[in-house]
Every structure is written in structure tokens, then in C-alpha cells.
């Protein structure tokens, strides 16, 4: 095949290249630049090499301690979120209607929390949980529970988790629902003929057929919960103490609270790296599953 060689075509890529450079590459390189320096204000910077990175990974220093504590806290938070939202999302998807007007009604109602700005979600729950004017807090007090997310670590965690479950379970449910809808009726009919119980239908048909959407759901929910900032910040401000200070909240404290640009830049890079690595792992797992499917098709 004869290809026309025309290097001028590169000019067509130029606008995109410029946009990406200004929106992503240059800011990122600025962060890389900051992460190697220290500043005492007045726009004076001093070379610090990989000092911040060493400190970041050393739990005995102040920076390292704060980073690693918030990192573990954040990973634990993500694990709890996934452990609740994924099974709950599946259960919700399974119990949704398959046809009729109620499908549309369910979809709209479930999409509602996803449409609310994160800040507003935080505000809703901040007020909802207050013992004086919030419905939840008030009711809990009336039935004799000493619930207070401002002073009690456990209450603060519970509030943040319930809020996230409320906000994001529908995403998992909607994804699972799409996966369920794509299963041909013949599978259910065959299972019926094979005498499968409800549980057997779930484990033999529904769960395997949902595995791809579930992978996407887990990826999205992991990313979002690992990067969570707005909602807990609005509700608890990272407290009581540091008990709900997740990595991004810690980062903002260092960057904007203390104006330690070097430390914050180093932290953001490591944070970013962790997210990219996890993304890559998920991507590899997903494409491998896809490749397997293609091989099967080839054989058939």
C-alpha cells in the first residue's frame, strides 16, 4: 500500500499539543520543580534535591508521619467503602424492576444523589447530623444515642461513610443493572430448566456476567474514595483531631495552610503515582480479561 508522506500533518496535532501542554504538562512540571525545593516565602527558593521524598517515606519525621498515617487511613476508608458499596450496589441492582414504567422511575431516583454537587452533599449531611437542627442527629439523640460527629471519632467516621454510601452506591447499582440487563433471557430459562436455585443463578450466571462492570465500578469507587476531599472536609473538616484527615485533606493543609510548597509538591507526586499505579493494575487486569474473551471468539 502506498502511503502519502506529508509531515505537515503534524501541524494538525499542534493545537491539542498546546492545550495539553498548558493544561497538564507544564503545571505538572511546576509541581516537580517545587518538590525539589524549599521556600521561606518572598518567592525565594532553595534547592533541596530528593529531601522531601526521603522525609515523606520516613514515618519518624513530621511530614512522613502525617503522610503515612493519612495514607493508611485513606486506604482503610476506601476498603470500607468498597466492602459496603459493591455488595449493596449488587443487591440494589438485583432488586430493581426489569420492565415497565417503574424502571424509569428507579433509574431517575437513583441517579439523583449522583447529580448533587459534592459540596452540597457535604452540607446536607453536616446539617442532617446536627443534634440541634438536623433530623438524623435529633432523632438519634431522642432515642438515647450520644451521637456527635464533631467530638466523637467513631461518629465522624460513621457519618462520612454513610454519606459516601448514600452518595455513590447508586453508581455501582446502575453499572450492575446495566450488566444484568445484558444477560440474554435464555440464560435464565436454561437455569430454570437446570433447576437452579436463586443463589445458584446468582453465582453461576449473574455474578460472572457482571464481572466486567463490577471491575469498572470497583475502579471508579476506589479512585473516588481514595481522592475524597470535599464531603468529609465540609462535614468534619478532617476532625475530630485528625481522625478523618484523608490524604487530600492533609495535602491541602500542607500546601495552603502552612504554605510548604516543597513538601506539598512531593506529597502530590507520590499521591499521583499511587493512583496511576492502581489505575494501571486495574487496566491490565481488565484488558487481560478482554483479551481472553477475544481468544475465545477466535476459537469459536
Amino acid at each position: 500500500m502506498d502511503k502519502t508522506i506529508n509531515q505537515k500533518a503534524w501541524f494538525l496535532v499542534l493545537p491539542v499539543f498546546l492545550v495539553v501542554a498548558f493544561s497538564a504538562v507544564l503545571p505538572l512540571m511546576t509541581v516537580v520543580n517545587y518538590s525539589m525545593q524549599d521556600t521561606f516565602g518572598n518567592n525565594q527558593f532553595f534547592w533541596n534535591g530528593v529531601g522531601w521524598f526521603k522525609e515523606l517515606l520516613d514515618p519518624s519525621t513530621d511530614l512522613g508521619g502525617r503522610f503515612l498515617t493519612s495514607l493508611w487511613r485513606n486506604l482503610f476508608f476506601s476498603a470500607v467503602i468498597l466492602a459496603i458499596e459493591v455488595p449493596l450496589g449488587i443487591v440494589v441492582a438485583l432488586s430493581m424492576p426489569r420492565q415497565g414504567w417503574s424502571v424509569a422511575a428507579c433509574l431517575v431516583i437513583m441517579a439523583l444523589p449522583l447529580l448533587i454537587p459534592w459540596n452540597v452533599v457535604g452540607t446536607i449531611w453536616q446539617i442532617f447530623g446536627r443534634p440541634d437542627i438536623g433530623l438524623l442527629g435529633y432523632v438519634l439523640h431522642k432515642i438515647g444515642l450520644n451521637y456527635n460527629y464533631v467530638s466523637n471519632d467513631l461518629d465522624a467516621w460513621a457519618t462520612v461513610i454513610v454519606m459516601d454510601v448514600w452518595h455513590w452506591t447508586s453508581l455501582v447499582a446502575l453499572l450492575c443493572y446495566a450488566g444484568l440487563k445484558s444477560i440474554p433471557d435464555a440464560y435464565y430459562q436454561a437455569a430454570q430448566i437446570d433447576g437452579a436455585s436463586r443463589w445458584a443463578v446468582f453465582t453461576a450466571i449473574q455474578l460472572p456476567k457482571m464481572n466486567r462492570v463490577l471491575l469498572i465500578a470497583v475502579l471508579l469507587r476506589f479512585m473516588d474514595s481514595f481522592m475524597i476531599y470535599t464531603e468529609p472536609f465540609v462535614v468534619t473538616g478532617g476532625g475530630p483531631g485528625n481522625s478523618t484527615t484523608f490524604v487530600s485533606i492533609e495535602l491541602v493543609k500542607i500546601a495552603l495552610g502552612q504554605f510548604d510548597l516543597g513538601k506539598a509538591a512531593a506529597l502530590s507526586l507520590v499521591y499521583n503515582l499511587i493512583i496511576i499505579i492502581v489505575c494501571w493494575i486495574f487496566y491490565t487486569v481488565m484488558t487481560n480479561a478482554g483479551a481472553e474473551r477475544r481468544v475465545k471468539k477466535g476459537v469459536a
Binding site: 440474554p184 435464555a186 440464560y187 430459562q189 436454561a190 430454570q192 430448566i193 437446570d194 433447576g195 437452579a196 436455585s197 445458584a200 453461576a204 450466571i205 460472572p208 456476567k209 481468544v295 475465545k296 476459537v299 469459536a300
Partner: protein
């Protein structure tokens, strides 16, 4: 082991009793134990509906289904001793071939040693033994269809196996193999098999009784030879055979049919028909020959010749009607005009599309 009787069975998906809304119009018939049946008809004729009614996936809006005289209409699919193979292979993705085959027995609480024995037996029958430990998803479409079938056969209680166009996704050269396999299985196991298809070759090679459906109605059931020689409905004549039966409007009186002013002799006598009834004669292309034009033959214009290798068919025009007729070997085809020679024994008379038996 079961004889299946359908008693005034009908189904309408909308639940509406208006005559036009029935996907399956009322039918009564018997499927004998051990028979190989094919349900043949074009898409949308109600054959899958009938199949799903028998397997219990769909509950009929009217009528009863009897297995060996016992009414099983209200029973769920699980409780009927029926297996079904679907158009697209249904396999359980995460399971191995062995686990797939064992699944129906596991669900029914059969003891493990018995499961192992049955699975081994059926795998052997279906030539699946080498794949038993493989993941079922990795296999080809025909192997998957065999697994679907195997899941039905492992159950010792299964009386009938229903196939819903099972060869749709199979490669042509494997279709033959799988079809012969089904035939062999039918001979080896004393099972009633009902095979839905819109492919007449599949139906005629598989079944000893072919049930032809059209527009929600069973129009004829019989052996392939009966369907070919004596179609009970013009649709059967047209649908079975390639090319299909020639059907032309005619006037029939006594032992004569008149087409386009020309008289065609009949072997049977027909009484007068009341006015307002559509009278047609039907004759298969195999029983009409083209000949050089002659005054005593029906005149036809040859439009083209289809050479099928073994046999040649002339596509001709008689008045406004299209006709297909056999070209005898060694016959050199005239330019356009030709005459048609009919074999009177194979000319049938249809009144309002239904076969009329004349008196001999």
C-alpha cells in the same frame, strides 16, 4: 418417557383474547413418545412460543398440556422433565465442562458418585470427555451447544429434549456433524425430540415427523414425503421444496382444471364449489415438464433457466402467473415459447388455501 398431548392450547402474549392477538392459535395434537419432530416455519410463526409452552417457560393463556395423560400446565419448568437447547449456546462461564454438566444434578441434590457416573457417561456420548476439565467458555460454539444438550441429557428423568434453532451459530460444515450426532442420540436414547427451525433441510433430515407452522397455526404435520407429495396447505407447498410448489388460480370442475383457458386433466373428481371460494391448483415443479410448444399444451414463456447441476428448472410465465418447471435431460430449450406437460397424479386442488381431496 412421556407422550405429550396438547389440548386446545393457545397463547397470546398480551393476554388479549381477540383473534388477531394470538401468537399461537388453538392447537390440539399429540407428540408420541420417542418421536423425532421438527417444528418448521418462518420467523414469527409461533414455533418458539409453542416450544416455550411445552417447556414451561411460558404459561399458556388457554388450554392444557398433558405428559402421559397428566395435566402439567401449572407446573414450573423445574418440575417438568424437559430439557431445552437454545439458539445461542448457554454455558455457565466460570464452570468447567464437567461442572456445567453436573450443574442440573447438583441443583437436584443428587449424590456425588452418581453425578460423576452420569457426567462421565453423557460426556462420552457427546464426545466431550477430552474437554471435561477445560473451562467451558474456551470451547467452540458447537462444543458449547453439546454442553447445553448434555445438561439436559444427564438428568435421568428427562422425557423430551426441545431444540430452539440450535444450529444457528454453528459453522456450516459442523452443522452436518452435529445434526448426525443428534440423529444418533435420538436412536440411542429413547427420547422425544422436538426441533424448531426455519431451515427445511434441517427439519427434513432430522425429523421423522415435520410439523409445519404458519401464522400461529399448525398447518400440517407428517413425514417429509407426505409434506412433499401432498401439502395440506398452499403454504406448505410453497415453503417446502426448492423451488416451492406452483400455485395458480384455476377453475375446477369434475376431473378438469382450467388455467388460462387451457384444460389440465386431474386424476380425481371434484364436485362443484360454492361461489366466493378461492380455487387454486398446486403442482410441484418436479412434476411439470417443459416441452416444445404444441396446441394441446399449456403455453408458457420461458424467462430463465436455473441450472442446479443435478436438475434444471425453467422459470416460466403463464399468463400473469409465475411457474417453475423441470427441464428434461437433453432437452434443448426453445427461445421463449414452450408448452407445459403436467403429471396429473400430482396436481392438487386447493380451496381457500386448503387441500381438497377429490373422489376417485
Amino acid at each position: 418417557m412421556a407422550r405429550i398431548d396438547l389440548v386446545d392450547l393457545a397463547h397470546s402474549y398480551s393476554g388479549d383474547e381477540a383473534p388477531g392477538s394470538f401468537a399461537l392459535k388453538p392447537v390440539s395434537m399429540t407428540w408420541r413418545q420417542g418421536g423425532a419432530y421438527a417444528l418448521l416455519g418462518p420467523s414469527g410463526c409461533g414455533k418458539t412460543t409453542l416450544l416455550n409452552l411445552i417447556s414451561g417457560i411460558v404459561t399458556p393463556s388457554r388450554g392444557k398440556i398433558l405428559f402421559d395423560g397428566v395435566d402439567i400446565t401449572p407446573l414450573s419448568t423445574q418440575k417438568r422433565n424437559i430439557a431445552q437447547v437454545f439458539q445461542f449456546p448457554v454455558i455457565y462461564d466460570t464452570k468447567t465442562v464437567r461442572q456445567n454438566l453436573a450443574f442440573p444434578l447438583k441443583n437436584r441434590g443428587v449424590a456425588q458418585p452418581e453425578i460423576d457416573a452420569r457426567v462421565a457417561e453423557i460426556a462420552d456420548l457427546l464426545d466431550l470427555t477430552p474437554y471435561l476439565w477445560r473451562k467451558a467458555t474456551r470451547l467452540t460454539a458447537d462444543a458449547k451447544q453439546k454442553i447445553s444438550l448434555g445438561r439436559g441429557l444427564v438428568r435421568s428423568d428427562v422425557a423430551a429434549v426441545l431444540f430452539d434453532e440450535p444450529l444457528t451459530v454453528i459453522d456450516p460444515e459442523l452443522k452436518w456433524q452435529l445434526r448426525s450426532k443428534l440423529k444418533a442420540l435420538h436412536r440411542a436414547l429413547d427420547l422425544t425430540m422436538i426441533y424448531v427451525t426455519h431451515d427445511q433441510t434441517e427439519a427434513l433430515t432430522f425429523a421423522d415427523t415435520v410439523v409445519v407452522m404458519h401464522d400461529g397455526r399448525v398447518v400440517q404435520s407428517g413425514t417429509p414425503a407426505e409434506l412433499f407429495d401432498k401439502p395440506a396447505h398452499t403454504f406448505v407447498g410453497y415453503f417446502i421444496g426448492s423451488p416451492g410448489m406452483n400455485i395458480v388460480p384455476a377453475e375446477v370442475r369434475g376431473r378438469e382444471a382450467r388455467v388460462d383457458g387451457h384444460v389440465i386433466a386431474l386424476t380425481r373428481g371434484y364436485g362443484g364449489f360454492p361461489p366466493g371460494i378461492k380455487i387454486e391448483i398446486g403442482v410441484r415443479p418436479e412434476f411439470v415438464e417443459v416441452a416444445p410448444p404444441a396446441p394441446n399444451l399449456l403455453k408458457a414463456d420461458i424467462e430463465r433457466i436455473d441450472d442446479l447441476g443435478r436438475i434444471r428448472f425453467a422459470r416460466v410465465r403463464v399468463g400473469n402467473a409465475k411457474f417453475a418447471a423441470r427441464v428434461p435431460p437433453g432437452f434443448s430449450v426453445p427461445d421463449r415459447a414452450a408448452g407445459l406437460v403436467f403429471d396429473p397424479a400430482h396436481v392438487h386442488v386447493y380451496a381457500n388455501s386448503l387441500l381438497v381431496e377429490g373422489s376417485s
